[in-house]
Amino acid sequence: MAEELSACERRPWVEATEKPFVRIKGITKMFGDLAAVDDVSLDIYRGELFCLLGGSGCGKSTLLRMLAGFETQTSGAIEIDGQDMTGVAANLRPTNMMFQSYALFPHMSVEKNVAYGLLREGVSKGEAMQRTKDMLSLVKLDGFASRKPHQLSGGQQQRVALARSLIKQPKLLLLDEPLGALDKKLREETQFELIRIQEDLGVTFIVVTHDQEEAMTLSTRIGVMDAGGIVQVGEPREIYETPNSKYVADFIGSVNIFDGEVDVAAPDLMRVNSTEGPIICEPMAGLNAKQKLHIAVRPERIQLSRTPIEATNTMQGMVTEVAYMGNLSVYRVQLAGGQCLKVTAANGLHEENPITWDEAVHIGWSAAASTVLVK
């Protein structure tokens, strides 16, 4: 196990070198007339930490509950480790789940909570207690064995829930908003803890979250969901740098979107007419003149200066808002055409005379920084 490469080093999704561990094949879940999950197909590989990311009501939790066996799909099939899961009850599946509410058994001690799965499996009491002890030290809860859940803090309850779901060494661990109930600082610490445990045990994780930052930190790959369907699947960098639609670009990080139509789409030049004037992009095949599309530019890709800028795309504007964030500052720049851009710039140490409110500024960005979004 130790010598084996982790999933983010092997990257089996780039070339099909291994069989997918979890195969979701055209799965649909109807609640009445409403499709909560609409024809989703997804391959997840062994050892991955896969995040299902989306807003509330996008179907991500329903998809997770179908993997766990709490909901039955209307059509389609789920395969885990080569086995078809159709008709297999939740208590007989090789998966375990960590619930958003933690769902600890309130009348049992921490130790009994964690050992519950082992005892149901028929493991002897002595062995179960030993393994529980080891698991509690893995999640740094030694000495809490005899406490009741209501005597623990939120972070400790979260770790009990994690220990309980890992004790049976499931092939697949499903986590529903695992860090949702923790405060920001604890959440950041726990994210890395979760990655450490996942790599130590080599378990495949599927995490549901609505927090894009959390998804970026945790995952080998992200599946962005909207309205019951998967919009884009890819590594965090891929999703951030080359989003395939306006929805994904907008959902992951912050972004400036220009609406426009294609002016020139030649192999060596690509120009789009927007409300703020022409924007040059990297040439790209399959576009027609006059086609309506969006251009996305990340705030940190835009340069900001009082003097004119040497860049492929340049514009002028007026700073209307400045927010000092410590490591960087966020500027809102009003352009001539009426659009307001968000620009971030790193702050220097003891910067003298920084750009401030109501200043006329020049902005600019490269052709590569303008991402063309057809959808």
Binding site: A68, F70, A90, N91, F99, A103, F105, Y116, G117, S165
Partner: protein, 263 residues
């Protein structure tokens, strides 16, 4: 103004509610044979009460009916509550949920009369229950007690986080094990308070029992009622005081258990 007025109103209300009961308890220690004349302290009516064969056998019957009907109603009521809260795909669940509150709001006279008619019809059709007595009173009490237990258990169950049961299922417990390992321990306070409520209601019931009882099956409230019609005798005061004591203990325990929030 408001601050001075409310405690007086509360005091007035308490006197109004508990004054008669307090006077009943005091008069049960009255030495005089005349109910309305105070003749000094005595516990002789309690001694006389325990020597009264008729009252003691009625009390024993009432206790027996109370325990059996409350226990059976707790089992049935819990099953009913589980169906109403957990099994969301059961056909006619909404109708059943509405109808379960029927016995709570229906006048006792109507329940008693309809049960009597049912028992008579059943006897002539299938020969069971043969005549009226302990069995018919038990069936009647189980019927209305079940509704009360269902309501109590239902409220506790719907407060419970579904994912706690799902977590146990997910860890490999069969649905039956989940019920006994997780659900049952978590709703135990509701079961106890439901049982106590049912027991109290059964002990208290006069109207329905009168309709469905037969010769030889006289419950305590029926004995009291028939004795009072012939004039109030002081041993009835003693008996009533004992019932008040038993019922208050039951209600206090039940209230304490329900107040304890699920953690």
């Amino acid at each position: 103004m408001k601050l001075r007025f409310t405690p007086i109103m509360a005091l007035f209300g308490f006197i109004f509610l508990y004054g008669p009961i307090v006077s009943l308890v005091i008069y049960s220690f009255n030495k005089s044979k005349l109910v309305t004349v105070w003749g000094g302290w005595s516990t002789k009516w309690y001694a006389e009460l325990f020597a009264n064969e008729q009252i003691m056998s009625a009390a024993w019957l009432s206790l027996k009916i109370g325990v059996i009907s409350a226990s059976v109603a707790t089992v049935f009521g819990t099953m009913m509550a589980m169906v109403l809260v957990r099994f969301k795909k059961v056909r006619g669940r909404g109708l059943m949920g509405g109808m379960i509150t029927g016995p709570l709001v229906m006048p006792d006279v109507i329940i008693g009369l309809s049960l009597l008619l049912l028992f008579v019809a059943m006897q002539s059709l299938i020969g069971w229950p043969a005549g009226r007595g302990l069995t018919t009173i038990l069936i009647a009490h189980i019927t209305f007690n079940m509704a009360f237990v269902t309501v109590v258990v239902q409220s506790r169950l719907s407060d419970m986080d579904d994912s706690i049961e799902e977590a146990a299922l997910d860890l490999g417990a069969s649905p039956t094990r989940v019920f006994f390992d997780i659900t049952l321990p978590m709703i135990t306070p509701a079961l106890i308070s439901g049982w106590l409520l049912a027991f109290t209601l059964s002990l208290d019931d006069l109207v329905i029992s009168s309709f469905v009882s037969g010769p030889g099956a006289t419950t305590l409230p029926m004995v009291i009622f028939s004795k009072v019609r012939l004039g109030v005798s002081p041993d009835i005061n003693a008996l009533a005081s004992l019932i008040v004591l038993a019922v208050s203990i039951g209600i206090i325990i039940s209230a304490l258990l329900m107040r304890k929030k699920p953690r």
